[in-house]
């Protein structure tokens, strides 16, 4: 009976053969390798038989050549059901269209809700989100994941302290906290300013306190720069200190400091680079089996970087058991490069500057540099640089009751 099921899938017909000795005709058909079943003789000159849909044309041709007449009396199987559906059953077609459109509509962002922000910030967030492709009418599965969006938003809008994004059904809900910038005038306890590093003082700006060093003085780490005692601290004792002569010294002491930086720069190397050629492929993942649905072209990159993004699909509020998988194949190439000693030298210097800036922050300025040592080892240039920097070296030091004065 297995045969019957397969033929049901492919479609089969029941034909009526009329003529003298119709079984002869069936015999010729069988000899032509046509599978025939359910042969029945209804009367002396007619015969009923079933055969597969694909053999109809052959049997028609055979009937044409002979003196038998052929009539199809029944059509059965999936292909015929399908045809019938298309032809007559508009209702079913309508239902299918409805399901498909419902499925699409379930995967569209209908609403973006933002709560917890003032109006103007809300507008700003909306605008930024639009830039990311999150707006009413966008496809859900084209949006990045919530955590990615969160990070992007936090990066792009500095006013945000925290933001949570949740995709709930057809709406995207954002909830967050605004960063409120408050200038807190903190009551600073009495303090001195001391040197954080060795250096030669260049400029002194004191807003409170008494400067204890002059320009071009060489100071060592821990030396007192600006005193919190307004009076000469050698003369005063504890009692005087109590009489509001103690302040929190504030100010800046710009001094020249020196750093020794070691950098290593390779002369040769390999780089991986994307060529810009990209191929996006879409798959439908059902039970961990990827079924390709879009872009069937073969990836013919010699080297590639593959990125896989999974988009969950929804039907109304339910997440479907299959997901849309997007594979981005990017072509990459390996470039090997070589650079001259001079160039390496330059790059090394830049690198050293960068390292130092990272270490010191924005307020330091680099004045000059000097190469102390240079060597080439294993295709690498090793540089030792001596860099002079101007920076603020003042560091607050609280004054304890029994602070020892320098």
């Amino acid at each position: 009976m297995k045969r019957l099921q397969i033929s049901y899938l492919l479609g089969y017909v029941t034909v009526q053969v009329k003529g003298i000795m119709p079984e002869r005709f069936i015999q010729t058909c069988v000899n032509k390798q046509i599978a025939i079943w359910n042969i029945e003789k209804t009367d002396q000159h007619t015969c009923i038989a079933s055969l597969a849909k694909k053999d109809i044309q052959t049997i028609k041709d055979l009937a044409h050549e002979s003196e038998y007449s052929l009539k199809i009396i029944e059509e059965k199987g999936i292909p015929y059901i399908y045809k019938k559906l298309l032809r007559q059953n508009y209702l079913l077609v309508g239902i299918i269209i409805a399901i498909v459109s419902l499925f699409f509509l379930s995967n569209i962002v209908w609403r973006v809700d933002i709560t917890g922000f003032p109006k103007e910030l809300e507008q700003k967030i909306m605008k930024t989100l639009k830039g990311y492709g999150v707006y009413p009418g966008a496809f859900m599965f084209r949006i990045d994941s919530s955590s990615q969006l969160q990070q992007q938003l936090l990066h792009d809008i500095p006013e945000l302290l925290w933001i949570g994004i949740e995709k709930r059904g057809t709406s995207v809900q954002l909830e967050g906290v605004e960063k409120i910038i408050v200038d807190k005038e903190k009551e600073v306890p009495p303090q001195h300013l001391v040197a954080a590093k060795d250096g030669v003082v260049q400029k002194i700006f004191v807003s409170k306190g008494v400067a204890r060093v002059g320009t071009y003085d060489y100071v060592k780490k821990g030396d007192l720069l600006v005193s919190g005692y307004l009076l000469d601290d050698t003369a005063i004792d504890e009692d005087v200190a109590e009489e509001n002569k103690l302040v929190a010294a504030t100010g800046e002491v710009i001094a020249r400091t020196w750093y020794e930086v070691d950098v290593t720069i390779p002369l040769k190397g390999n780089d991986e680079q994307l060529t810009g050629k990209q191929l996006r492929k879409f798959y439908l993942n059902i039970f961990n089996i990827d079924i390709p649905i879009w872009n069937f072209s073969k990836v013919d990159f010699d080297l590639e970087k593959k990125e896989t993004i999974e988009h969950p699909l929804f039907f109304l509020n339910w997440q479907l058991p299959f997901t849309l998988v997007e594979n981005i194949h990017s072509e990459k190439e390996i470039r090997s490069w070589e650079r001259s000693k001079k160039l390496a030298h330059e790059i090394g210097k830049k690198q050293a500057y960068q390292e130092l800036r990272l270490l010191l922050g924005k307020n330091a300025t680099i004045i000059s540099d000097k190469v102390l040592h240079e060597a080439i080892e294993h295709d690498k240039v090793i540089l030792t640089l001596y860099i002079t920097v101007e920076e603020n070296i003042a560091k607050p030091q609280p004054i304890m009751n029994q602070t020892e004065k320098d």
Partner: protein, 93 residues
């Protein structure tokens, strides 16, 4: 000449214990009660009616009598007959 051929086949079957249906081109008939007749190695239908099926074989005909016959399946050398079977007869040429 044909007699010699037939003899040779018989000898083959006898001495080499080869399956006789394959070597001797005889039809193999399998019956399921009186419901089904399954014939292999036949050489085509001679007559088919509601109550009679006559099949060609190299040595003659096989005639099956009965009622409400229906050929469930037909391939060049195989045939499955369904119905109420009464007789299976071998008719020599």
């Amino acid at each position: 000449m044909k007699k010699i051929h037939q003899r040779l086949r018989e000898i083959l079957v006898h001495y080499f214990s080869l399956p006789s249906d394959a070597v001797m081109e005889l039809p193999r008939i399998t019956m399921l009660g009186d419901l089904h007749v399954y014939v292999e190695n036949h050489k085509g239908i001679a007559i088919f009616k509601n109550d009679l099926l006559r099949l060609n074989t190299p040595n003659g005909f096989i005639q099956i009598n009965g009622s409400s016959f229906k050929i469930k399946m037909m391939l060049p050398e195989e045939l499955l007959l369904e119905g109420k079977i009464e007789h299976v007869t071998f008719l020599p040429k």
